[in-house]
Amino acid sequence: MLDISTWLNDLLAGNQIFTANTLGYYWEGLVTTTQLVFLSLVAGLILAVPLAIMRSSKHKWISLPIYVYTYVFRGTPLLIQLYIIYYGVVFIDGIQESFLWPVLREAFYPALIAFTLNTAAYTTEIFRGAIKATAKGEIEAARAYGMSQSLMMRRIILPSAFRRALPAYGNEVIFMLHASAIASVVTLMDLTGAARFVYARYYAPFEAFLFVAAIYLCLTFAILYFFRYLEKKLLAHLRPQTS
């Protein structure tokens, strides 16, 4: 009993770790992680819609390049993609003199590019699956109404495909949040970067990583509940009727 109370005292007295200063690092990390994940998801989503339509095309020469893109980006670790883009841009001739350099020299943008390309590949496949699963009847009905291919895509196929893709896309958002933890390997001070800094400075793995794990857990649950809410609103018509 005595052991435990002295241990507890030591722990609190020796708590130089969670000062306002280190909490500041975690806060900055949270901001960086949120920006990185949010921006890459939005950009990835914008890319994925046309890519998914092309991927669903009957013409091989349209769908095949997209397939190769998604296959490569889904089949290799994000870490390698990040390394290639981060170290690779430097070797583009004359990049340091170009107007793009002030942007690319910061670790944030190569990371953003890598994350965007990665999530766009996964999202493309999710949408393709959803487009493929469109009920035949809906398409026939649209044709019978004399809708053009593009009008049918806009009015019939995409709206219902988006709804069907929602649960899988929710998983992708969580996956992206977790994957973003590798941003710290290219010097970004995201949440994990902040934890690594605190760990290296105070040699305190439990404090540093458990705290950041708790933050990630909260974020994960927030995303989870947000998508549950969306599903409830948007997929209400698919639920079995209850009397």
Binding site: R105, E106, F197
Partner: protein
């Protein structure tokens, strides 16, 4: 089925425990963070070399034991010692109070100042809060240079932290960093002597205040391994006396004073 599973799990546990062994000093494992030229690095054909490596091997020779070098990245190097991945750390580790709480140090075996390195066209002659304003500073994560820069300049400059010195040098050459803060000999061999010359030391070499820059490099041991530390201290004194130390020193630093 459940029984079968629990047996195989037990098998795993036994496999893990079978590597448990009593400590024995015939073979000493030393943790080192590579590369950190010229203190520890690999030659093109993969051979481990450097001042720490040669000195460590000489010490082990003197003690009549075999040494095995275990590579470990810097930010995990003290935990790795604690967890007995190796018995000592010999990796350009500066002796300071923060670390003394964690590990037991040998006598210092070399003293190295730190220094600022920048491209020669950066155009500042001294590094201080005014000249560094708005710049991106590179340091190795968890080093005393990191602590010093973080505490003194994080409000005026961006700090990029790297796992290895090599990463940092690469980003310096890619012009992602404006200036880096490093152990002097490391910057000297990786930046000043590199093929793509054009780097200079900015301002004086720095070894004050002691609060950050400590008392020279020491070999680190677990707190309880006092006997082992004593053995190393004895061997160090011996080779400093008989000239072996000077010979190794000259191999990496020429005739120049280590300060």
């Amino acid at each position: 089925m459940k029984k079968m599973l629990s047996i195989s799990l037990l098998g795993l546990a036994v496999a893990a425990a079978s590597s448990a062994q009593a400590r024995d000093y015939d073979n000493i494992r030393i943790g080192v963070d590579v590369p950190y030229e010229p203190m520890e690095y690999r030659t093109a054909d993969g051979e481990l070399t450097g001042f720490d490596i040669d000195l460590g091997n000489a010490l082990c020779d003197r003690m009549g034991v075999t040494c095995e070098w275990v590579e470990q990245e810097w930010d995990g190097i003290i935990p790795g010692l604690m967890s007995r991945n190796y018995d000592a750390i010999m990796s350009s580790m500066t002796i300071n109070d923060e670390r003394r709480q964690q590990v037991l140090f040998s006598d210092p075996y070399i003293t190295m100042p730190s220094a600022w390195f920048a491209p020669s066209d950066l155009g500042i002659s001294e590094a201080n809060a005014e000249t560094l304003e708005g710049m991106t500073i590179g340091v190795q994560r968890g080093t005393l240079q990191d602590n010093y820069v973080t505490d003194n300049f994080s409000s005026v400059a961006d700090i990029s932290r790297y796992s290895t010195a090599d990463d940092m040098v690469l980003d310096m050459e890619a012009q992602r960093l404006d200036i880096v803060f490093l152990d002097f000999p490391i910057g000297q061999s990786t930046l000043l002597n590199s093929e793509e010359a054009g780097y200079v030391v900015v301002g004086e070499r720095i070894s004050e205040p002691k609060e950050y820059f400590g008392d020279g490099f020491g070999i680190a041991f677990r707190q309880r391994d006092e006997a082992l530390a004593e053995q190393f201290n004895q061997a160090l004194a011996d080779i400093q006396e008989d000239g072996t130390y000077d010979e190794i020193f000259a191999r990496y630093f020429g005739e120049e004073d280590a300060e």
